[in-house]
Amino acid sequence: MSKPVIATASLAGCFGCHMSILDIDERILQLVELVEFNKSPVDDIKTITKPVDVGLIEGGCCNSENVEVLRSFRKNCKVLISLGECAIMGGLPAMRNGIPIRECLEEAYYRSPTIDPSDARIMPNDEDLPIILDKVYPNHEIVPVDYYLPGCPPSADLIWKALVALLEGKPLDLSYGLLKFD
């Protein structure tokens, strides 16, 4: 039997959840034995090239590119997991929800303390840039999501136990302390 395929992506996240994947320490050697990685920042494969068994998504959707990547994961992954608070509920980026988008952009590009007042006011507006969404969306409000691993980031133990449970087809034993929102 060929190895199960895993893919990962970071949308509106800080890469902390990916750091936590690496934080499984020497178990990563076991993981590499057990699975094959496809698209992931870990191996730098840029697009999904074959059917994926488990897709892990860090971060929610703040722009049109995030939505595209998320939809391609949903299309190609048997099981899709929202990894971390940002993926599950928008997380820190969602602190802008409730503030009008123009105000956010003006704060960043016109009024931020590092802007030289003598410079021309420039708001990036190139057709190659992804379009910013009206708010940051939890992933399951864009596509159906199968599992959720909370935490900021989820602990390496939680990620490891969840992957092992999935690969062995067993239910995840969430003993107290594994579930954390911070």
Binding site: G91, Y148, L149, Y176, G177, F181, D182
Partner: protein, 246 residues
């Protein structure tokens, strides 16, 4: 000295009332609520707005139990002889979880940034119920951090309207420092800035500690207890009450 308004300590009569929770025989004293009696019998009924020593408000409904086929708030409903109470049954447990999930989507709960994380009763209930994601869509309401006098802040994004502050924080001359405005979805807690500024250091801390979530905050403190040593890091909420079934 500031004194909180509490229900008068009743003289404790002998526990003469026999009743049961989920088929388990319990003893209670006349005048006790189901929640109080359950605790005395080593049974934890999840609750949020209830607070020892404060008059019950019955506002959160997390303590909902079934008595005679009807839903009742365990924190307000008195025990009576021969009463049989259902509590830890799947439909009630799921309903409690749903209420917790509702509270999460009705506010903006960014636990990773919250001073109360690890010591928060709402979060602890979510851990106990193993909430991975709320079943309701996030509302992302527009709420603000508001000043609350010289010592306190109110982070309205996290308020669950349990009314503990309104019930339990008073000045020396018995004036309420906190109150609520409006009703239903518009309901909002407010604070009298002058009275809040006049609170003693101890009572400012008490206001923060009684708030079950990270809404009332003492200025310039927070994140004092390291991760791993916070209230709910090691054991679930309620585990101090629960005694194993003999």
């Amino acid at each position: 000295m500031n004194k909180p308004k509490t229900t008068k300590a009743k003289p404790a009569p002998a526990p003469g009332i026999k009743f049961s929770i989920d088929g388990r025989e319990c003893l209670a004293r006349a005048g006790q609520t189901i929640l109080e009696a359950a605790k005395d019998n080593g049974i934890y009924i999840p609750s949020l707005c209830a607070y020892d020593g404060l008059k019950p408000a019955g506002s959160c409904r997390i303590c909902t139990v079934r008595v005679g086929g009807r839903h009742q708030a365990a924190c307000t409903f008195p025990v009576s002889d021969g009463m049989s109470v259902e509590s830890a049954v799947p439909d009630l447990e799921d309903m409690r979880k749903a209420v917790v999930e509702m509270l999460f989507v009705e506010g903006n709960h960014m636990c990773p940034t919250c001073e109360k994380s690890g010591n928060c009763e709402l979060q602890a209930l979510a851990y106990r119920f193993q909430m991975l994601v709320p079943r309701f869509p996030y509302l992302f309401p527009k709420k603000d951090v508001e000043p609350a006098g010289t010592k306190l802040l109110m982070e309205q994004n996290r308020c669950v309207k349990c009314l503990r502050c309104a019930r339990g924080i008073r000045t020396a001359d018995n004036k309420a420092v906190f109150g609520s405005l409006h009703r239903s979805r518009k309901k909002k807690m407010f604070v009298d800035l002058g009275l809040a500024s006049a609170l003693s250091e101890r009572w400012a801390r008490t206001a923060m500690d009684r708030c079950p979530v990270g809404c009332i905050l003492r200025k310039e403190v927070g994140f004092a207890v390291p991760i791993g040593r916070r209230k709910y890091d090691q054991a679930p909420i309620g585990s101090d009450i629960e005694k194993p079934r003999s």
